[in-house]
């Protein structure tokens, strides 16, 4: 702010009134009940299905409740101000008023750095809820037959764990780190669409809250895939799933759109495509997948919603529909979604390795080609999820081939990563450890994926704990490990404070060992005949399951180590971090910590990519000679 005299802060109660998270929650709840009453007014107590009524299930009122609830939430957050101004003909503002203090973290803030931190905390919250679900699942599976949770509740747990993780974590890297660092890395002062950026975050939070409320509506029995016609059949708890995933889809789509627009249009002078940090390339390919895959998900969930409220028959074979339609469309989204989760992991690993191996990224173009290849190929493989379903069986060889082809571009990432390490000067810092663990985890995950892509081997492993272990190796081992790598790497820049390295190493080793001890035995469990999402399992598998459960609890405990480290280091110890603790050449480390609101005094001019370790011409970005505004 310009030279304004020091303002007297109004009292707390005054600051709580206005557009903020508190108002948003109040408006959200109000909106929910408004929609609920409208729905009941339209339909009475029950949606009469195909002329047969009489059960107190009114999906319409639940949907309307959720929609108006979300609308109220967003209005309360302050998202109504801008469209209202535009409606009356005021032109768009490039920036909203920047807020100060803690309050800006609890409302609409158009500073991409604030949104990044909001994302980190918000995603962390739902990551822990999803993790808690996993712990409860493992409690249930301690015994083959005894029921801790009743069968239906168990399915809700499984579904919530899967949905929460797949939905929320698909923004795990792009939300916090791409929002925070992409503008810095490309030398911009903001994202292309700052309000949309904030909207994606709050949509995600609204979705997470909605999914949590499924318990009050009887839960949902379908797991994260929401297969039809079980989906049509289920309780109103299913509506939470549909609304949650649709909100996540909208959030993802807009996030991807914003990222692409930012990277395409807002790069600083000199930052050519071949100088773009590899992280931005990873973000770009992920964003393309998000932008294009999420609409398919929203569409198919829209069909499911119409089936449940307007009584269309998209997925009901005896009404002219087909459950295959859902499976096809869901996996057209679902397989790119898997790479939406995996690609940011590649990006983080390739971005961090040069810093800690003190070498330029090996084979930059190959790495980019690998990511773009994965982006492209991920659209051509979806029916490998349907190998056993009897659909298009004559196309199975094609899908087998296309699925296995993906390992070629994935192999590029491996080659580039490994060769970057070769002859390097490797420093085993905490972020580096997490990156190196990625190689191990993704190796196992990738190799087990080859079993699943091969139809004969897939017969036993399909729908078993083998496939479950496979995708936990790729997603948890590939995404969550790099998520933590990114946290340990960038937190000094984001907050200005150091995380405790010793605790970080304890966290890493406990997590790495417990992770492998949890999921490696599950390959065996799957091969030995344990089906996914089963509340029971054969009695002779109890030892494996107990072992896994205990390892999972240790894995959960390792997260508490992290949480302690995070809270203690940032709130209590508060040791100032050096500006560039890792001696990185990347431009974000040349900025003060934490980064000032405007990022750059002057838009920098890039002269090389940020990987010039060991090269004579070190600086990758120069301050511009002319005053600000002279960019491109």
């Amino acid at each position: 702010m310009s030279a304004v005299a020091v303002e007297v802060r109004p009292p707390l109660w005054r600051r709580l009134i206005g557009f903020n998270a508190l108002t948003a929650v109040v408006f959200g709840i109000g909106g929910y009940y408004l929609g609920w009453f409208i729905g009941h007014h339209i339909n009475g107590a029950s949606v009469a299905y195909l002329g047969v009524g009489g059960i107190d299930q009114n999906d319409l009122s639940v949907f309307l409740g959720y929609f108006l609830g979300v609308a109220g939430f967003l209005i309360g957050m302050g998202f109504g101000v801008y469209p209202w101004a535009r409606l009356r003909g005021y032109p768009p503002s490039l920036r909203e008023k920047e807020q100060q203090g803690v309050g800006r973290y609890f409302g609409l803030c158009t500073d991409h750095k604030v949104v990044g931190i909001q994302y980190l905390c918000g995603i962390g919250l739902f990551f822990f809820i999803g993790g808690l679900n996993a712990m409860l699942i493992r409690v249930e599976l301690l015994s083959p037959a005894r029921q801790v949770f009743p069968a239906g509740q168990y399915l809700t747990l499984v579904g919530m764990h899967g949905t929460m993780m797949m939905g929320i974590m698909s923004s795990a890297i792009l939300g916090p780190f791409a929002n925070y660092f992409v503008p810095l890395m490309i030398g911009a002062r903001r994202m292309a669409f700052p309000r949309i950026e904030s909207l994606t975050f709050w949509l995600l939070m609204a979705g997470g809250a909605i999914l949590t409320t499924t318990i009050f509506f009887g839960g949902f029995p379908t797991g994260w895939t929401g297969y039809q016609p079980l989906n049509d059949q289920a309780n109103t708890g299913m509506d939470s799933y549909i609304v949650f995933f649709a909100l996540v889809g909208i959030s993802m789509c807009l996030l991807g759109l914003n990222m692409i627009a930012t990277i395409v249009t807002m790069r600083a002078p000199g930052l050519t495509w071949s100088r773009l940090p590899i992280f931005c390339w990873g973000v770009l390919s992920t964003a393309v997948l998000q932008l294009l895959a999420a609409p398919v998900l929203i569409a198919v969930l829209g069909m499911a919603m119409l089936d449940r409220t307007a009584q269309t028959t998209f997925f009901i074979p005896s009404g002219g529909g087909s459950p295959y339609l859902y499976q096809n469309l869901f996996w057209v989204f679902g397989h790119p979604e898997v790479y939406i989760l995996a690609l940011p992991g590649f990006a983080i690993v390739l971005e961090l390795l040069p810093v800690f191996a003190r070498k330029p990224l090996w084979g930059y173009r190959l790495a980019v080609a690998g990511m773009l290849g994965v982006t492209l190929l991920s659209w051509l493989v979806w029916q490998h999820h349907l190998f056993m379903s009897g659909i298009n069986s004559n196309l199975r060889p094609f899908y087998m081939l296309s699925t296995e082809l993906i390992s070629i571009p994935t192999g590029f990432t491996f080659l580039c990563g490994l060769m970057t390490l070769w002859r390097g000067q490797i420093r085993f810092t905490v972020p580096m450890l997490f990156c190196l663990a990625w190689f191990f985890n993704f190796l196992i995950g990738g190799l087990s994926g080859v079993f699943l892509s091969d139809v004969p081997s897939d017969v036993t492993t399909h729908g078993s704990f083998f496939s479950m272990a496979h995708f936990h190796y790729t997603i948890m081992g590939g995404l969550v490990f790099t998520f933590f790598a990114a946290i340990y790497y960038w937190i000094p820049k984001m907050t200005g404070f150091q995380l405790n390295e010793r605790l970080g190493k304890i966290h890493f080793w406990v997590m790495f060992i417990a992770f492998n001890s949890t999921f490696a035995p599950l390959f065996a469990a799957g091969f030995l005949g344990q089906a996914r999402r089963d509340v029971t399992y054969p009695a002779h598998l109890q030892f494996i399951n107990d072992w896994v459960s205990i390892s999972a609890f240790v894995l959960g405990a390792s997260m508490l180590v992290f949480l302690y480290n995070f809270v203690h280091s940032l709130l209590f110890a508060r040791i100032k971090a050096p500006v560039n603790p890792w001696s990185s050449l990347s431009i974000e480390w040349q900025l003060p910590s934490p980064v000032p609101v405007h990022n750059f005094d002057q838009i920098p001019v890039f002269t090389s990519d940020p990987y010039g370790y060991g090269e004579p011409s070190r600086p990758s970005a120069l301050p511009a000679a002319s005053p600000a505004g002279g960019s491109s």
């Binding site: 009524g53 059960i55 107190d56 808690l132 949770f149 029995p221």
Partner: protein, 224 residues
């Protein structure tokens, strides 16, 4: 120091709130547990016998359940009252003599195979008469324990019957059908039992709501 104190207080509050939320969360899942009903066991411990008296009602009514118009099984507890429990604790290798009063009308089977009673000791008696097979448009519900091979279709109250029971608890003076049968529990374990009739009207395929909620049309036999 006071700053640190405030922070500690803040974190402690956070931990407490998180703990309470987690507690509520887990409790939310656990409350779905239907309490088990343990009928009195007669006979010697070598050959125990249990009498179970069950009724099926078209609507469980406002006093017994959060979903008053859901169809449900009820069991007569040891003090002679109707209780909404579908989890029964039974001795192993015991003879179970079951009487089911059905107050509900016909729904019809999806798979006509389930009109044939199986897995019983002796025949299934419907109003005292042995049943060979029930036509598929007839059954209101079934009492089925697939792991024990037990399957019993329940005869419906006629559509034009007078004095039908609207919602539970239903009196035996109201229109009903009576099924009696005997089956044997096997070795120890948890056996699910369920209804195979798509009787939950208003849902696609009639298999939502009460058909997928323990305590209504589904339950366990805990054989101990």
């Amino acid at each position: 120091m006071s700053r640190t104190g405030a922070k500690i207080l803040g974190v402690a509050t956070g931990v407490a709130v998180a703990g309470i939320l987690i507690g509520f969360y887990i409790a939310g899942y656990l409350v779905g547990n239907t309490p088990a009903f343990r009928p009195t066991v007669q006979g010697s411990s070598a050959s125990p016998t249990v009498h179970l008296t069950i009724e099926t009602v078209a609507a469980v009514g406002p006093t017994l359940a959060p979903h008053p118009d859901w169809v449900s099984y009820l069991v007569r507890n040891n003090s002679g009252r109707w209780e909404r429990s579908t989890v029964f604790t039974l001795p192993a290798h015991a003879t179970i003599r079951v009487t089911i009063y059905n107050f509900d009308g016909a729904s019809g089977l999806r798979n006509p195979l389930f009109g044939r009673p199986t897995g019983l000791v002796g025949p299934e008696l419907v109003d005292g008469k042995p049943l060979v097979v029930m036509p598929p448009d007839q059954p209101s519900h079934t009492f089925a324990v697939p792991a024990l091979g037990v399957l019993v279709p329940l005869a419906p109250v006629a559509d034009n019957a007078k004095n039908t029971c609207g919602y539970a608890p239903c009196l035996l003076s109201m229109a009903h059908r009576t099924m009696t049968f005997v089956f044997r529990t096997g070795k120890k374990g948890h056996y699910r039992w369920q209804c195979f009739v798509p009787c939950a009207a208003g849902f696609m395929y009639g298999f939502g709501g009460p058909m997928q909620t323990i305590g209504y049309m589904d339950g366990f036999l805990n054989v101990v």
